[in-house]
């Protein structure tokens, strides 16, 4: 920020001016707003729930890191050269291996490298680019010069987060963007989409692009989600893809759809279990890649080029492959497989830091020290030594003031159709925790920073983008929904509904228990509700059968809400598919879900202490579920995603309604009226009934309202009619499942008709529980059939290894 004479560097003046006129208290407030914006995006929750639970919420410093136009231009050209070198190295090492035969690179660095994937060297029928996306971590040394801290040819994560940082920062701090001429990121992403489309096999007009992610359980998931949104790519997992007849397909509800270009964000060795023995992936993917019918960015095996051990040999590689000298230096690094280099390091060990020769990172790997004593399994050639360097500082917001903090910068480059490399005019900076010299990308990083590149006058003018693809035809259906996503949405719908139903039963029972000194009628209701709760799996049989005024029932209710309890378990069951289908939910739905889970859990845990706190918790959950239904109804396009979500809800509600009504109506004749009242309450229909029939409670009108009335969204018939419609939309009215659903949907009206024509309506009503249980079982069977047809989680396994759990 400040030059050698204590003067503010010119490209910082605009931003500092904007901050001053805003006031630093206001800037700090914007910083808090930025935190909240990330929280709403679910960044905090997801990171906290990922595999390493120690991760902290994502923080982005409101103070960006600023690069002048000249600084960026020189970095871009230096990194573009490095990207060309890495690409040429990969072509060579997975091809003729001149670098090895001519002695530019020691063979052990390649053959001993776990990221040298031998199947990637099998000759291709149609050559393919191995590197089309590249990232680099950089630091600015005390001398002011930028140096490469790490090349990133394997993953280069962070480009999605960089875009998200920019979006949110622009939202909370628009004044700063008005004060500074910042280059937009959009042209980079547009160019990248063009480049990806241009990779499609010849003759494909409107190529299908997909981003291949390891899935929602991985901590990179949000990065992939943000990136897929930025580029407009389908987000797929390996289980969504299949190879047939030499092509790669996406498994969708409407059959197989060919995929032409894959932005690969999974490890190369996890991409094809036929050729890499990792056990997961898309069998046959590598063969399709070699035959030219699909393109992967980057191709598997690309991570080889980023090995730290190659650093001392890069200048020789550049001369051999490019006939150029490297413009951008890295940190001084030696490979320990070279005896002379080993002597240098052993002569002054305090000046060097040992690292893996194959993996990025600065931590000395396990076994590094014994590698030099000829003991253990580690060998010196597995290590590199780097001379650490302190990174220079950039201003960050601390309280209500700026203070300098050491930063590492990550930049991203993509290769266009003509083979030119372009750097994103921006990137991601990381504030380092702790100060001091570093030798590689540190494992612990503090907050992120957006990176701003100053525009030059000439760069402001962005010409119209070239037409990218054939004009799109209008599409209304969303049949391309991957089968796995349909499955997740279906279960999301079911779990939300199950949670809602459980909370309603709970509240009905709690209100009676809290009233105390129960009348005989209320005792009967309590017993019925307890049976319903037991049937729904919320309390055990013993508690359900215990006296209505005893202590066992309240205890069972508190346990259900507590840790390990069934109700809290349902809340967690909602969370799993909800995270997995995050890319299918609108922002508001996502926020509503996040709120439901967060608040619901907090309230339930607070309610464990006593019944009077549990009742409001149940009410809160019911309200959240209702709000969610409203958002789904008003915001989800009536496509595949909504259909499966709604199908899940309706099937769940139909099953639960049939079951609850069966219990409510299963009363001795004297108590039938109480049972009917309870039926109205459980179907949230008491108000409607009173409006229609005033106080008189009779079997036929009650049954019509809770079973058959097509206008009552809580009636059993309404659910089954919706199931029928959804299945007809998904599979066609002629379909066997849709036909089964249609026959089920006619049943509630038939049950009511049977009561209406009966000579003794009360006797006919008493026969209903058996019919309702039968209907419940048939609906459950339909649900199983739906799951069998649309579930895609069929696991593959190796030849010579029996299918696990297979019958004899």
């Amino acid at each position: 920020m400040v030059d050698g004479r204590g003067q503010v560097r010119p490209h910082w003046r605009g931003l500092l001016g904007a901050f001053s006129s805003l006031g630093y208290a206001a800037v700090a407030e914007r910083g808090r707003r930025l935190d909240r914006a990330f929280e709403e995006e679910g960044v905090a929750t997801v990171l906290a729930d990922s595999a390493s639970r120690t991760r902290r919420p994502w923080r982005c410093d409101p103070v960006p890191m600023i690069l002048s136009a000249a600084e960026f231009a020189s970095l871009e050209s230096g990194l573009a050269q490095r990207a060309r070198l890495m690409a040429a190295m990969l072509e060579d090492l997975y091809g003729p291996q001149r670098l090895l035969s001519e002695g530019a690179l020691p063979a052990t660095l390649v053959f001993g490298n776990p990221h040298f994937l031998r199947p990637c060297r099998a000759p291709a029928t149609v050559p393919f680019p191995r590197l089309a996306f590249y990232g680099a971590d950089l630091l600015r040394g005390p001398d002011g010069a930028w140096r490469v801290l790490a090349d990133r040819t394997g993953g280069a994560n962070g480009v999605g987060f960089a875009a998200e940082n920019r979006n949110l920062l622009a939202r909370v701090l628009p004044e700063a963007f008005r004060a500074v001429q910042v280059r937009s990121l959009r042209p980079f992403f547009d160019g990248w989409i063009d480049a990806l489309q241009a990779l499609a096999p010849p003759g494909v007009d409107n190529p299908r692009l997909a981003l291949l992610t390891p899935g929602a359980k991985q901590e990179t998931w949000l990065e992939h989600l943000f990136l897929s949104r930025q580029l407009g790519l389908e987000l797929v997992e390996t289980g969504d893809l299949t190879v047939r007849d030499g092509e790669v397909f996406l498994k969708t509800l409407r059959g197989l759809k060919r995929v032409d270009v894959i932005l690969r964000r999974i490890k190369g060795e996890l991409s094809d279990p036929l050729e890499f023995d990792a056990g997961t992936g898309v069998p046959g993917l590598m063969r399709v890649l070699r035959d030219g019918a699909v393109r992967l960015v980057n191709a598997p095996g690309s991570m080889l080029a980023e090995m730290p051990g190659a650093a001392p040999y890069l200048p020789a590689c550049a001369r051999l492959l490019l006939d150029e000298d490297l413009a951008l230096a890295g940190l001084e690094t030696l490979w320990m497989g070279d005896p002379a280099a080993r002597d240098v390091v052993q002569a002054a060990p305090e000046a060097w830091r040992l690292r893996s020769a194959f993996e990025q990172g600065q931590e000395p790997p396990l076994g590094a020290l014994e590698a030099f004593s000829e003991r253990g399994t580690a060998a010196p050639w597995m290590f590199a030594a780097t001379r650490p360097m302190p990174p220079s500082a950039a201003p960050q917001l601390a309280g209500e003031a700026l203070e300098p903090a050491p930063v590492v910068l990550r930049m991203f480059l993509m290769r266009d159709a003509a083979g030119q490399w372009h750097a994103m005019p921006g990137g991601m900076a990381h504030v380092l925790e702790g100060s001091g010299a570093i030798a590689g990308p540190p494992a612990r990083r503090g907050s992120a920073k957006d990176v701003w590149v100053m525009a030059e006058d000439t760069q402001d003018i962005v010409g119209p983008a070239a037409p990218r693809a054939a004009v799109l035809t209008i599409q209304r259906a969303s049949g391309d929904l991957p089968s796995r996503v349909a499955d997740d949405l279906y279960w999301l719908g079911r779990y939300v509904e199950r949670l809602d139903g459980a909370a309603r039963l709970m509240r009905a029972l709690l209100s009676r228990l809290l009233r105390g000194a129960a009348m005989p009628r209320e005792v009967a209701e309590i017993r019925t509700l307890a049976r319903c709760l037991h049937a729904a799996g919320l309390i055990d049989a013993e508690a359900a059968a215990s006296p209505a005024d005893g202590a066992a029932l309240p205890r069972a209710l508190r346990a259900a809400a507590g840790p390990g309890g069934a109700l809290l378990g349902l809340l967690e069951a909602v969370e799993r598919p909800q995270v997995a289908v995050r890319d299918r939910l609108t922002h508001d739905m996502w926020a509503a879900f996040a709120h439901l889970i967060h608040e619901g859990r907090a309230r339930l845990l607070a309610g464990v202490g006593g019944l009077d706190a549990l009742a409001p918790a149940a009410t809160a959950i019911i309200r959240f579920c209702t709000a969610l239904s409203g958002i789904a109804a008003e915001n989800m396009v009536r496509g595949g995603a909504w259909m499966f979500f709604d199908l899940g809800r309706r099937i769940e509600r139909a099953t639960a309604t049939a079951r609850n009504l069966a219990h409510a109506l299963d009363q001795p004749p004297l108590r039938l009226e109480a049972g009917l009242r309870l039926a109205l309450e459980l179907c949230d229909s008491a108000l409607t009934y009173r409006a229609r029939y005033l106080a008189a409670v009779q079997a036929a009108p009650v049954l019509d309202l809770v079973l058959a009335d097509p206008g009552n969204p809580r009636a059993l018939g309404f659910q089954l009619a919706a199931v029928k419609e959804r299945l007809a939309e998904i599979a066609g009215a002629e379909d066997l499942l849709a036909a089964t659903a249609a026959s089920l949907a006619a049943r509630p009206q038939a049950l009511v008709d049977a009561v209406l024509v009966a000579t003794d309506r009360d006797v006919a009503t008493a026969a209903l529980p058996a019919d309702l249980h039968a209907l419940e079982a048939e609906t459950a069977a339909l649900s199983d059939a739906v799951a069998r047809r649309y579930v895609s989680h069929v696991r593959t396994h190796s030849l010579g290894e029996d299918e696990s759990g297979a019958p004899e």
Binding site: Q97, L100, S101, E102, G103, A107, T108, F111, G112, R118, P119, R121, A122, P123, T125, T242, V243, R244, D245, G246, P273, L274, E275, D277, P283, G284, R287, R290, D291, T377, A379, V794, T796, H797, S798, L799, G800, E801, D802, E803, A806, P807, E808
Partner: protein
């Protein structure tokens, strides 16, 4: 020169239908100066799948198979006619002291042998294997004398016994058992040589079914066989030795291909959707004409 007719069938029966299968076969006899492939074909049942032929990183012939039709059985048969006549090894006295071979493998001139000095999945850096091999390599001993003796010692010290080991048995366990099959002896010898810094590779193929007249039947006939390629330095290159039978490979073996260990050249592998329990039968005939 000996002319062989080879027949090798691998047959799987599945307890449940397989809906989709992809296979990778290392089943093509490798063309070499000492091995002329007159004919070789791979027959597959069920027919009609998607098939591709190519090479792997080591230059071995590879076949990819993709079967999209539902099937209850899978059968691969290799039929080949091959003439074998590998050059005799150099006299031990003509070969370099083993330390010089080790150093050559670390230098740029030995770059393509370097790969076979490094530990691999089935031949990991195993101290005990190194100690066992080191007895045959006193300082200054010519490499050929060392590998010849190591090969003989393995034949003498280890019993050929089917069923006591499997492909997942580590070299350290084989050393304890003092027993195993051709694969185990090959991996043991490879691990021992690599522990000394010497390049060694795994050779996959067959040994003749009936021995030459007047000789004992070879161990490992009637099935896939394995032996070891040893590097003698830049001048003499690679020589193959069979520790199971204590033989220098000349005209009794037929080579499919080589790799770092078994996992690089497993003859038939695959990924299945379905299949249940699998039943495998293998038959091999290598008949001299």
């Amino acid at each position: 020169m000996t002319r062989y007719t080879l027949w090798h069938r691998t047959a799987y029966r599945y307890g449940r239908s397989v809906d989709l299968a992809s296979h990778l076969l290392h089943l093509s006899p490798r063309k070499l100066p000492g091995q002329v492939v007159r004919a070789a074909e791979i027959e597959v049942l069920p027919e009609g799948g998607h098939r591709k032929d190519g090479q792997d990183h080591f230059g071995n012939g590879v076949t990819w198979l993709f079967i999209g039709t539902t099937h209850d059985a899978f059968e691969v048969t290799l039929k080949a006619t091959v003439e074998v006549d590998f050059a005799p090894p150099p006299p031990a006295g003509d070969t370099l002291p083993w330390e010089q071979v080790r150093d050559a493998a670390r230098s740029p001139e030995g770059w393509d042998a370097a790969e076979f000095t490094l530990p691999s999945h089935h031949a990991p850096a195993e101290r005990a294997a190194g100690l066992y091999a080191a007895e045959s390599f006193p300082p200054g001993r010519p490499i050929m004398a060392g590998v010849r003796e190591l090969c003989a010692r393995i034949r003498r010290d280890f019993a050929f016994k089917a069923g006591v080991t499997s492909i997942s048995t580590p070299v350290s366990r084989v050393l304890e058992l003092r027993a195993g099959v051709c694969q185990d002896f090959a991996h043991l010898m490879i691990a021992g040589l690599r522990a000394l810094g010497l390049p060694a590779r795994y050779c996959s193929g067959y040994v003749r079914t009936r021995p030459p007249p007047g000789q004992a039947r070879r161990q490992g006939a009637d099935q896939s066989h394995a032996w070891v390629g040893c590097w003698l330095g830049p001048r003499h290159g690679w020589v193959d030795l069979d520790p199971t039978n204590d033989l220098v490979v000349s005209d009794e073996h037929l080579l499919l291909g080589w790799g770092r260990d078994f996992s690089d050249v497993s003859p038939v592998t695959g990924i299945l959707l379905g299949g249940g329990r699998q039943k495998l039968t293998v038959g091999v005939d290598l008949i001299a004409e």
